[in-house]
Symmetry: C2
């Protein structure tokens, strides 16, 4: 075997590795896309579509409130959130189980609101979302939790 | 068919349902056990063992602090937590992916501490932990997040 053949064999192995990496990336892309699609309807303050992203047994775990489980409780919480300011977020990490039925996204958020005196204020924090694949293949929110990075008052 | 036969058939169906429930329970028992084992060393304030429950790339997402990723950052955060009070928690929900490599536990916590004036105080809240199965079969913390149920000051 000539050196040239070893080189080609090496490329094939590297190519296989890249394909595996690509495949793992694609798996997490499903929850990344769900996260981005949720952000789109959430930042547009579309209440019905935002609630529709949650699993029937989904829980939203907001600071300063008990766990809200189920669509009615989540709807109330999101509605209150919409009224109090503007939320955007960015997913820094995403992953899914090998079986493709459970995944997560996590990153940071920025919440712009008006303080009690009416002046513009910003809260920066982080979030963690656990996604569950539904029977129809879509990803829905099983848990969503967030908290602030700001020091206590 | 007599009524007695219907009754027995009904019992068999119910039995089948219970078996499925049991099977799902067994899968989640792995993360429930990891959650309970973590609680044990955490409430004993064993810093090394508490940090050892975290994945090398694990993140702890505590309120009023940026995301702490990696064992050094997590150790600092847990150490500060140990110094400020006594934490206990209870897992109400647990689940794992069908592939058994990713799971979650979630529930409530109680943090007992002394307020700035030295009087005993309690903070009640909730938590969400994402667990990743390691190469050795153990479950480690990939994300751990919590926040308070108490209204803002």
């Amino acid at each position: 075997m000539k050196l040239g053949q070893w080189f080609i064999a090496g490329l094939v192995v590297l190519g296989g590795g890249a394909a595996l990496g690509q495949s793992a990336g694609d798996a997490a892309d499903g929850v990344r896309a769900a996260d981005a699609a949720w952000l789109k309807v959430y930042s547009a303050k579309d209440l019905e579509k935002s609630v529709a992203f949650c699993d029937e047994q989904g829980s939203m775990m907001a600071p300063n409130a008990p766990i809200a489980t189920g669509k009615a409780a989540i709807k109330k919480l999101i509605s209150s959130d919409f009224a109090s300011g503007d939320l955007v977020w960015h997913a820094d990490k995403a992953g899914v189980a090998q079986s493709g039925d459970l995944g997560y996204t996590s990153g940071t958020y920025k919440f712009s609101f008006k303080d009690p005196s009416g002046r513009p204020a910003v809260d920066n924090g982080k979030y963690l979302t656990v996604w569950k694949k539904q029977a129809d293949g879509s990803w829905k929110v099983l848990f969503d939790m967030f908290n602030t990075d700001q020091p206590p008052f």
